[in-house]
C-alpha cells in the first residue's frame, strides 16, 4: 500500500515539474515573440525611412499630394453625384411603386403562384421557387458559402508546427484573446444557459417549417449559428470544441452538399426524361409534404450554420 502511495506522490511531483517546465517554455516563446515584433517594427521603420528618400514620395508629401487628393475628391464627388442623378432620373421614369401591372409581374410570376402549390407541394411559394424550380441556383449559393469558408480558412487559420507545438502567432493570438474577450462572465453564462436552447430550437423550427411559413434553410441556419456563437462566447473554445471541430465542419458541409447535389441530380434526371420521380408530394400544409424541399432545407441550414460559426471562430482567434 505504502509503495503505491509513494509512487503516486512521485507521479504528482513529476507532473508538477512538467507543468513548471511547460510554463518556462511558454515564457520563452512569448519573449521570442516580443523580439520578433520588435524586429518587424524596426524593419518597418527602415522601409518608411527608405520611402522618404524616393522622389515621388517627396513630391507626393508636399505639393503633389494636396493637388492630387483634391482632384481625386472632386472627381469622385462628381462621379457619385452624376451616378445618383442618372439613377434618380431612371427611378422617376419607372412604373409606380406598388402597381399591379409592372413588367416584373409577368407570365413567370403567374405560373409560380398559380401552379406552384400543385407542382411543388410547398405552401410557401418562395420556398417552392428557390428549392424546386430554381434549385440549381440555391446549390450554387451553398457552394459559394462553402468555398468562402474554405478561403477564409486558408487565409486565417493558424496551424501547429511540424512537431505539434503551437507557433508564435498562435500564442500571441491566444494572449490577445484572453486579454480582449470575456472570460467566465457570470451574467453572460447565466443568460447563455437560458437562451442557447431556445435559440437553437427556434432555428430548427424555422428550418423544418421552411416550406410552410416564412423562413427556410438560410435564415434557420443563421439563427442556429447565432446560438452556437452565444454559447462559444459564454463558455470559451474548450467547451465548444467538444462538439464542434474542423472535422465537424468538414463532414457536415461535405455530406450536406453531396446530399443536395445527388437529390437534385435525381430530380433533374427524372424531369428531363419525363419519368415519375416517385417522391410523394404529400398534403399541402402538412409538415411532411412538398417532396424534397424539407430535406434540402435541412442540408442548406447545416451548411449555413457551420459556415457562420467557423467564420466567427476564425475571425476571433484564427482557429477552433
Amino acid at each position: 500500500m505504502r509503495d503505491g502511495f509513494s509512487g503516486l506522490d512521485d507521479r504528482i511531483a513529476d507532473s508538477l515539474k512538467q507543468e513548471a517546465a511547460e510554463k518556462e517554455n511558454l515564457k520563452q516563446l512569448l519573449e521570442q515573440q516580443r523580439e520578433l515584433t520588435d524586429s518587424r517594427k524596426h524593419e518597418r521603420e527602415i522601409a518608411l525611412d527608405r520611402m522618404a528618400h524616393y522622389d515621388f514620395t517627396k513630391w507626393a508629401h508636399t505639393r503633389g499630394q494636396k493637388v492630387i487628393t483634391r482632384l481625386y475628391v472632386a472627381l469622385a464627388l462628381t462621379l457619385g453625384a452624376l451616378m445618383i442623378f442618372f439613377l434618380l432620373e431612371t427611378v422617376a421614369n419607372m412604373p409606380r411603386f406598388g402597381a399591379a401591372d409592372t413588367p416584373g409581374s409577368n407570365i413567370v410570376t403567374r405560373r409560380y403562384i398559380e401552379r406552384g402549390l400543385q407542382e411543388t407541394g410547398a405552401v410557401n411559394i418562395v420556398a417552392g421557387m428557390i428549392l424546386d424550380y430554381r434549385a440549381f441556383d440555391t446549390l450554387g449559393e451553398s457552394t459559394v458559402l462553402f468555398i468562402a469558408a474554405c478561403a477564409v480558412l486558408i487565409l486565417l487559420r493558424i496551424d501547429k508546427d511540424s512537431q505539434g507545438m503551437p507557433v508564435m502567432e498562435q500564442i500571441a493570438e491566444d494572449a490577445d484573446d484572453r486579454h480582449h474577450e470575456p472570460k467566465n462572465d457570470r451574467i453572460l453564462q447565466a443568460s447563455a444557459k437560458l437562451l442557447t436552447p431556445v435559440v437553437l430550437l427556434f432555428g430548427v423550427y424555422v428550418i423544418l417549417n421552411g416550406h410552410l411559413s416564412p423562413g427556410g434553410g438560410f435564415s434557420g441556419g443563421a439563427i442556429i449559428s447565432a446560438g452556437l456563437i452565444l454559447y462559444l462566447n459564454a463558455f470559451g473554445f474548450e467547451k465548444s470544441g467538444r462538439f464542434f471541430r474542423y472535422e465537424t465542419f468538414k463532414w457536415v458541409s461535405f455530406c450536406s452538399l453531396l446530399f443536395y447535389g445527388l437529390a437534385k441530380t435525381y430530380s433533374f434526371y427524372c424531369g428531363a426524361n419525363r419519368l415519375e420521380s416517385g417522391i410523394p408530394l404529400g398534403v399541402p400544409g402538412a409538415i411532411l409534404s412538398s417532396g424534397l424541399i424539407m430535406p434540402l432545407n435541412i442540408a442548406v441550414g447545416m451548411v449555413v450554420a457551420c459556415t457562420m460559426y467557423i467564420f466567427y471562430a476564425l475571425f476571433r482567434k484564427g482557429g477552433l
Binding site: 518597418r44 522601409a47 518608411l48 520611402m51 514620395t57 475628391v73 469622385a76 464627388l77 462621379l79 457619385g80 451616378m83 445618383i84 439613377l87 434618380l88 432620373e89 427611378v91 422617376a92 421614369n93 409606380r96 411603386f97 406598388g98 402597381a99 399591379a100 409592372t102 416584373g104 409581374s105 410570376t109 403567374r110 409560380y112 403562384i113 398559380e114 401552379r115 406552384g116 402549390l117 405552401v123 410557401n124 411559394i125 418562395v126 421557387m129 428557390i130 430554381r134 441556383d137 449559393e141 459559394v144 458559402l145 468555398i147 468562402a148 469558408a149 478561403a151 477564409v152 487565409l155 486565417l156 410552410l212 411559413s213 416564412p214 438560410f218 399541402p284 467564420f311 476564425l314 475571425f315
Partner: protein
C-alpha cells in the same frame, strides 16, 4: 420629376443609399470603411429589389386556404433574388475582411495608400 420621385420613395431612397455607398468606397482610405461602403451598396440593391416586388393591398406569397389566385399575392421572384444577393454578399465580405486582417498583420496599418507605398518600398 419630383412628384414621381416622391411616389417611388422606396426606390429613390435605395438609389441615394447606393450613391452614398459608392462615395464611401471611393473617398475613404481605411479598408474596413471601404468594406462597409460596399455593404451599404448591397443593402441598397436589396431594398430596390424588394420594393420592385411589392404590390399594394396584396399578401406575402404563402398560400392560405388553397387559394392560388394571382390577384392575392405579391411577386415572389424578387424575394428569391434578394436571398441570393445576401448569401453572396456575406461570402465576399468574409473574404475581404480576411484579406484585410492579413494585410494588417503584415503592414500594421489599414490605410490603403500607406500599404501601397510600404509594399513598393519593400519590393526593391
Amino acid at each position: 420629376m419630383l412628384q414621381m420621385l416622391y411616389e417611388n420613395l422606396e426606390q429613390t431612397v435605395a438609389v441615394i443609399l447606393f450613391g452614398i455607398g459608392f462615395g464611401i468606397l471611393l473617398l475613404q482610405r481605411n479598408l474596413i470603411r471601404k468594406i462597409i461602403g460596399l455593404n451599404i451598396m448591397d443593402t441598397a440593391v436589396y431594398l430596390f429589389l424588394a420594393s420592385m416586388g411589392y404590390i399594394h393591398g396584396r399578401k406575402a406569397p404563402i398560400v392560405v386556404d388553397g387559394v392560388t389566385d394571382t390577384a392575392r399575392y405579391i411577386n415572389p421572384i424578387p424575394a428569391g433574388l434578394v436571398l441570393t444577393g445576401i448569401v453572396v454578399s456575406v461570402s465576399f465580405t468574409a473574404i475581404m475582411l480576411a484579406l484585410t486582417i492579413r494585410l494588417y498583420r503584415r503592414y500594421r496599418t489599414l490605410d490603403i495608400d500607406q500599404i501601397a507605398l510600404l509594399a513598393k518600398a519593400e519590393g526593391d
